[in-house]
Symmetry: C2
Subunit: 189 residues, 2 copies
DNA sequence: ACCTGAACACCGTTCAAGT
DNA sequence: ACCTGAACACCGTTCAAGT
């Protein structure tokens, strides 16, 4: 009981830490936000954060998992949508964490823990896209390639400023090109 | 005369700085290489670097321009090649500076001078690809979209580890999809 | 188990001073 | 014009000590 109580408290505390860190990371960027600053916002000593997280990068992973689980709660709604709509949805979702996505990519080579999170996330997204493509009747041998292309396009659109028209042209072109590879002609992916 | 002499000396010195910085950046990464370390390798005081460059990011830009001009000297050879071969060539070229490319993308939001260099580089690459597509007879209205897609694919392949087969599948699929949009059917882009 | 004060070993950068 | 010694204002992180 007492043990359980403590676990709950720790989780609540971590939630507060990650919420504050998330807010500051999104407002100012990961690099521009110091551990001191986060600690000050929480009214604790800077080194207190190190009781909960081994490093600033691990705190970032906590924040990322938090954002991810929030996104996953909104996900079920898009299950049946066509690929183009799914990509547009993912783009809108990630757009709000643009800075965070850039940070993850920028730290891949320096932080193994960020690298691990990133790879796992990519694997998850790509599996989902493959499933969507298969369900839409795309030739099984092409699914993996198309899924990778889809994620590259989402990442590209996310990383580089672009107009709504450009974005639509790219998604439209991709959906058409992917759709033309259907085993059963006539339907659209 | 004396003035000219000095200009030459400054250029030679900058070349040496950038060569050393480039080596250390590629060996250890940008972030893991301190200004102190570069200065030590050159046998100068750390703050000497600030007489030549306003910041570490500006030194990076110097290094990037240096690598770029080296690449440009190797470029003429690929003028007439098909798009797929051009993309493969660019990939091989950038692969050797993978870490540097990741650094640039990671610092876009923090450094205006890096952002400016990146945008200009992208504009240059995209213009070149558009020219190649137009020459190959691709419908003019699609060229911009396809060029953007091409650069996104190159960046994606560069940022994420992949096998030679995966890479070939993606480039092959893209070339085929782009080629099917030719104004004159029969030729290949 | 949780938190702190104080310190460590850096970092990029600045500035006044030299030649 | 070019370079230095010394310092500034940080940074992420550690550690011994408290409760």
């Amino acid at each position: 009981m007492a043990k359980n109580k403590r676990d709950v408290d720790a989780k609540v505390k971590k939630a507060a830490l990650e919420e504050t860190a998330a807010r500051l990371f999104m407002e100012q960027g990961f690099e521009a936000t110091s551990m001191q600053q986060i600690a000050r916002a929480l009214d604790v000593a800077p080194n207190t954060l190190y009781w909960y997280y081994a490093s600033k990068d691990e705190l970032l992973v906590g924040v990322l998992n938090r954002l991810l689980s929030q996104t996953l709660q909104r996900l079920p709604a898009i299950g049946g949508l066509p690929l183009k709509a799914q990509m547009a949805w993912l783009l809108d979702e990630l757009e709000q964490s643009r800075e965070m996505v850039a940070t993850v990519h920028g730290r891949l080579d320096q932080s193994p823990v960020i690298r691990a999170w990133h790879d796992q996330f990519h694997h998850f997204v790509e599996s989902s896209v493959i499933l969507t493509l298969k369900t839409a009747g795309v030739d099984a041998s092409r699914c993996a390639t198309l899924a990778t292309v889809a994620t590259f396009l989402v990442e590209g659109l996310l990383a580089h400023p672009h107009s709504a028209d450009q974005r639509n042209d790219i998604l439209e072109w991709f959906a058409a090109s992917a759709g033309s590879q259907l085993t059963l002609p006539g339907s659209t992916a």
